[in-house]
Symmetry: C2
Subunit: 366 residues, 2 copies
């Protein structure tokens, strides 16, 4: 895999839940699609827009979606905020339901809308986010939107998005899945889930760096939702330039907003290219094998730690309890790049990790 | 200037109102601050955040602002949308006032908020946007926000932002200035204007490419405005990770939102570096001299065209009327990169243009 990715020299990189390694193709793609047309032609925009279309097509291919249903977003927070901005006129319900273990920004975005009349509802702290019944029990008739984390950033829990979406639908609510911690290592298949929308990002498992997140909106809402947050690139024809005549684009571009951002989406295209070439099922299998290797080597010897149970995504989230300082020091000493949420150690194996990395981790942590 | 910027070979670039030429430093800076730390360290984020701080400091230096009052935004539309999202709780007024000649996205953003109770008010079509009395006459007691274009993208009109801000203040409204078409070629001095906020972008005269816009919020509103649109990087401490405890950052970071975008701000830093090194007053003087050269050579010979009168920014916006097709063909034939809004020809001279460019334009257009 060293021919596909830059692996940090002298270190074992186990933080693909954070950034992911840089594709070797990234620098060249950035030069070819961003810098060179800008330098050479004096007419960069047609090239830049084509580059965004190439990103959209690559991502659509990876997740089995139609390109027209994908919209660039700067980050998951912005994508969620924009999505919710369309719901006020689409429903009279005003509660956004999520789990307290959701990535904090989800709660910050939702609760930020209190002044606009939105309420944030949480599952009980002890509810199992993987059990659709937990969601069904919390779905009252004021819930407009369920925000489900496909994979939890703090526990690794893998949620059956289709089941949660079905529960939401039964209760008359929409469901959006946050796939920031899954896309690239766990199959993300919006069109098969019966979900209303999906958020994802290129930083982490897609190895594309920050700034290139995305919102997928289901075909059934292609032209029914009108985002209040918008800009000239949400217009059916951005170049019409009539300030008094805004018409939403008939597809996911309506979520786009202002002047397109380019560089992050070119970087992301390089990452998606590598992930697609290797194949997400292959990455998932490889990841599971390395997870098993680490568990086999270490779990029995660490009875004081809490290892994950049940379905998880690409990251092993291991609660090291009072051992945390010792474990952190060991990581540092062995140049292992992993991190913590509190006492929870997060270890991620990607396509570019191998058995030697799992052994190195087992040795360092034992 | 060819040592500072890549000038498109074989063409005369007169479209700095659109993109601007690429700084030669851009590729190296992108490698040094984005790609290399990502490849080499396995801990990219501290380097990336430092790069954003460097961008913020560079921009603050250029516009005489404090870095803490500057927040990154993806584009002007997103910055405006986010700014307005804080006003609903700060005032009971609900009208956003702008000129019909504002860049269309300003109107699209404002009118998109109708469902949230916002009204969009326009100056009369024949009002002079440069006359503060035009604004004063339209400022009724429902106006919460005046959006003034520092330089018009369609006429080039240069507005005295301080005078408009004073009129707004007298009427109990806030004022935000859109400096997308001025920053880099006309002095932009938020702290001296008495304005409440400023929007700008790196694409165009700052030669930084798309994706790196910004919102400056006046010190008097540093901690009084609470944007509804937010994310974990709007938090006083993004790494606190407590979904139930959001506290706004005590400065412009509160407008930031989700996971930071990096690449566009590094590119922008390269552009700001060149502009600052040359100096905006010098660029302004050079631009004015080349504008005068073109006018001297061409205006008297084109009585059928409408040339701008009064104060303008960096772009000559010349209404070519029914000559437009002929003029467009001439531009094409002479490899002059300029563009049109309808029949209005837009010609921009930047630091990297020279007398030969003005002569080439005069010759091609006569």
């Amino acid at each position: 895999m060293a021919e596909r990715f830059h692996l940090p020299p002298g270190a074992t990189y186990l933080k693909s839940h954070s950034v992911g390694c840089q594709p070797r193709a990234a620098e060249t793609l950035l030069r070819d699609r961003l810098l060179t047309p800008w330098r050479e032609t004096g007419e960069a925009w047609p090239h830049w827009l084509e580059a965004i279309d190439q990103w959209r097509a690559a991502l659509a291919g990876l997740i089995g979606a139609e390109a027209q249903d994908l919209c660039p977003a700067t980050n998951v927070s912005a994508g969620l905020s924009r999505y919710i901005s369309a719901l006020g006129t689409a429903t009279t319900r005003r509660t956004i339901l999520l789990a307290p273990s959701a990535f904090p920004t989800i709660g910050y975005v939702a609760s930020g809308l209190a002044a606009a009349g939105w309420k944030t509802g949480y599952l009980p702290a002890d509810a199992d986010v993987r059990d659709p019944a937990s969601w069904a029990a919390a779905l009252d008739d004021d819930v407009a939107l369920v925000v489900a984390m496909h994979v939890s950033s703090v526990s690794g829990a893998l949620t059956d998005v289709a089941a949660v979406a079905a529960a939401a639908k039964t209760a008359g609510a929409r469901c959006i899945a946050d796939c920031a911690q899954s896309v690239g290592v766990v199959p993300v298949t919006p069109a098969l889930w019966g979900v209303d929308a999906v958020l994802g990002t290129s930083v982490k498992w897609l190895c594309g760096g920050p700034g290139a997140a995305w919102l997928w909106v289901a075909p059934h809402d292609r032209s029914t939702l009108d985002p209040m947050e918008r800009g000239w690139w949400s217009h059916e024809n951005p170049f019409e330039m009539d300030i008094a005549d805004f018409r939403y684009a008939p597809d996911a571009r309506r979520w786009w907003g202002g002047t397109p951002d380019v560089a992050p989406f070119i970087l992301s295209t390089a990452g998606i290219g590598e992930i697609a070439a290797i194949g997400v099922p292959a990455i998932r299998g490889h990841n599971a094998a390395l997870q098993a290797m680490l568990r086999d080597a270490l779990e029995a010897r660490t009875p004081q730690w809490r290892w994950p149970s049940g379905a998880i995504g690409g990251t092993l989230c291991i609660d090291t309890g009072t051992d945390q300082p010792r474990v952190a020091a060991a990581l540092e000493r062995h140049n292992l790049r992993a991190d913590f949420r509190g006492s929870i150690l997060r270890v991620s194996f990607h396509a570019y990790n191998d058995a030697a990395d799992a052994h190195a981790a087992a040795e360092a942590l034992s």
